[in-house]
Symmetry: C2
Subunit: 494 residues, 2 copies
């Protein structure tokens, strides 16, 4: 699994190419032989595993349990909820047969025409339909509610322009599907999970996000409200990182899921669904990394500290090994993931470049002179600053340093984002700022028609109606001049 | 999610029906609306999550990393390895189209005939082919080896006679796929992972297994050797719990994966693959459970201890709540998963039956008289024995009790299995013992023809050539009378 380290395109030259190259050079993922699908390599998967672990704990803390529902969904289920099918049914992988047989000419295997399914099956693009068809049998009374279930799964949407992590035909995700007795409870759940996502993004991914509500156009197909968290990439686009949907009674009605409430009346069940996916990997890479490679927040880095020895011969190495052993033990005892790379078949320079491109937050280098002086060289990946420090007490210093890096990465991303968030009041200014890669707060007349025209002319969409800051004020729609009571957030997006 | 507790069929009446009912009544899983697929419910999934967690740690301890490969495999890949396609290509879900469209008559959605794939894609029944087509790009030199990768994934095999957990069209599993520079190293890896599985089965699932090697007929399609662990169900059948395959250079040759070795010569890479699946859930249920429901080994039980209060009024309950709080804290501090069920809408009798059918290892019951006496009632699920004990010190007593239960369940299963393992020397005796549900050690002439005839006549197959005890001795094949140098293990199987 050799990594080609040289020649990473600079962000300023071609941001898009920089990203594509970085994903491969940092050994995170690669294109699979199947169109639009990816292979997530061990280093990339280790980051996803950490995300999974942290999120899973948060879901459980908030009362959710995991379960597993089938990969395949009968085609007819998709038509049950009218808006849902419009939004999702179109680009799906369709299973039509269940058997292969040997070709008569011995050329390989062919699909057995005798094994055609009566009803085609769809590989889940999302699981509302299969899950609500199941909940129907689980829910009779308010006593059976709430149901608070999450599923970790793979899903498939036949993307026409796939990109590693950001948009792939198959991706990994979690999807929460909850059922409630009241509208209020379901709405509170949807907002709660949006907050769980925002907390994870900010405190683990070091990713500042704008929390908001989607416009009708950008809403999940079948939802009454979609709550979102939106991050900014270094080319000034928005990236939707996670969404949480208040589904009202739409799916309950589509699948006839009724319950007897406390007053002994029959009512439809209220629903939410919410999800984040391997797309978060794309958001993470885009937010912090630089022209030297990946920059990872320490809390999600598979390797938090790498130690590289510099030596001339086996005797020297043995001495360094002996000294490093106790440093490794000390770091591990503090819960730090550390790798001592004393492999003899790679030069230090190669190792430096490799761990730099892989975004290991802290690098310690120890040579013979260091050993004599009781020092080592500490490099932090976020600033690339090097400093000589005493070996004595280095373990505690590293703990502090990792915290500092985590915070610094977040603050850097936050000020980058804040500097690029602007208010505009004319359409000309709007177009200019969108072209400059800005998050634009502007007045809008509230109609899907205006939204569509702005999108057509500028490729900017309404990312959300922000919840983190008050945008209420009287103004005029930048496009139609009609009155507006609040600004909304526009940006181009991934 | 109400559970119907009454009327579990007795094992002696109809073992198969007992199993099917138990899986549903214990809230583990249910049939999905898609043929042959299952919904794994939260309680069942929680057990699988524990299995996942423990196994994953063992894989990492033995040097493996997780990664993720695509769900869909180009049809032509399956034909590359000749034996593999014979064994696996046949009953697969086949994706032929990638889009749906609205039916013109408004009746719903139909498959868009314009969106037909050039080459059909198969939902992975196992991933050797897609993984080895990827390894081809990762491996150039012995320095790139070994590759020690595991994947947690869903796979699909179109089963004709599906059964919850034991044989479902879609199931969850892990599949290890390793690449090595030498034959010896690959063989050692395959045996190592068989041992990891055996250790997990015995020490976590409390499941005695016979380790062994498969006969040529029963080998994985494409393997040179298949190492297996086989458990015994209470109806005396064998259940293959996990397999580890030494694949030789078959897949490397099929996908042209060569490397430059230390002597600078080009050679094909050596491979293994190994897996366990949600089938382990079936093995677990079948091994220990009784006519009252599930019996779970404490180490895998999602709830290890349940506490049920007995009270007449809210005032009493408040007193019990207060006393129980410190017991709960004490148990949690000892790493024990405990549930205090003081829900007011269910009677104690209902709770008792529910936790019994769900196999919670230890039940503590606390009434007002107990509170006065400083005692509580302790029931262990494995023996159903009840005992009154002092509340003082109960936390440590429970720790010991859980260990005792874990060990007792294993010993019980072991003696059950050992009592039903017999040596026979004639075919008549063989047929009788197979009919009686025995593991039969018998001489066999080593030919697939004899194996096939015995299977046809008795439904017994060679489960393995055992490795845990020496079966080497001169004898005569029970079927043909030809000379044999060792006994092999025959049984009917799931």
């Amino acid at each position: 699994m050799a990594t080609e380290l040289k020649g990473l395109t600079k962000r300023s030259e071609n941001y898009s190419q920089w990203y594509n190259e970085l994903v491969v050079k940092a050994d995170l993922a690669e294109q699979a032989p199947v169109r639009g699908c990816m292979v997530i390599k061990p280093y990339g998967y280790a980051i996803w595993e950490k995300m999974h672990e942290v999120l899973d704990a948060k879901f459980k803390e908030t009362g959710h349990q995991n379960a597993y529902f089938p990969l395949l969904i009968p085609k007819s289920y998709l038509s049950r909820e009218a808006e849902h099918v419009e939004g999702f049914a179109k680009e799906c992988a369709v299973v039509t047969h269940y058997r292969l047989k040997n070709a008569e000419d011995g050329s390989g295997v062919i699909v057995d025409p005798a094994a055609k399914l009566e009803e085609e099956l769809i590989i889940r693009p999302t699981s509302e339909t299969i899950i609500w068809s199941t909940y129907k049998n689980w829910i009779k009374s308010y006593r059976d509610l709430p149901i608070l279930i999450n599923q970790w799964a793979n899903v498939m949407r036949w993307e026409m322009r796939p990109r590693l992590f950001l948009r792939t035909a198959e991706f990994l995700w979690q999807e929460g599907h909850t059922a409630h007795a009241t509208r209020e409870e379901a709405e509170a759940e949807a907002r709660k999970m949006q907050n769980v996502y925002a907390d994870f993004a900010q405190n683990w991914m070091a990713l500042p996000v704008v929390r908001g509500v989607k416009s009708e156009t950008e809403r999940f197909a079948g939802a009454l409200d979609t709550y979102t968290i939106e991050s900014m990439t270094q080319d000034g686009k928005a990236l939707q990182c996670g969404t949480s949907h208040f589904l009202g009674q739409n799916f309950a009605k589509a699948f006839e899921v009724q319950f007897v409430d406390r007053e002994n009346k029959l009512d439809y069940v209220w629903a939410t669904s919410w999800g984040v996916s391997t797309r978060l990997m794309g958001a993470l890479i885009m937010a912090h990394s630089d022209d030297n490679g990946l920059v990872l927040p320490p809390k999600l880095a598979p390797i938090q500290v790498v130690i590289v020895p510099i030596y001339k011969n086996a005797e020297d190495l043995q001495k360094i090994d002996a000294r490093v052993a106790s440093i490794v033990d000390g770091l591990k005892a503090r819960g730090i993931s550390v790798k001592y790379d004393n492999a003899d078949n790679k030069r230090p320079g190669f190792k430096f470049a490799d761990y730099e491109v892989k975004g290991v937050p802290v690098r310690l280098v120890l040579g013979m002179r260091d050993l004599e002086n009781g020092t080592l060289e500490v490099m932090r990946r976020d600033t690339l600053e090097k400093e000589s420090m005493p070996i004595e007490g280095i373990e505690d210093r590293v703990v502090t340093l990792l915290d500092e890096i985590q915070e610094n990465i977040f603050r850097k991303a936050l000020s980058y984002r804040d500097e690029r968030m602007v208010k505009v009041d004319t359409y000309d200014e709007f177009k200019e700022q969108i072209e400059n890669g800005r998050f634009v707060l502007a007045h809008w007349d509230g109609t899907p028609e205006t939204e569509a025209k702005i999108k057509e002319e500028t490729k900017a969409t309404i990312r959300c109606i922000p919840m983190d800051f008050d945008t209420t004020e009287d103004g005029k729609c930048i496009y139609t001049g009609k009155p507006s009571s609040r600004r909304v957030l526009f940006a181009r997006s991934y």
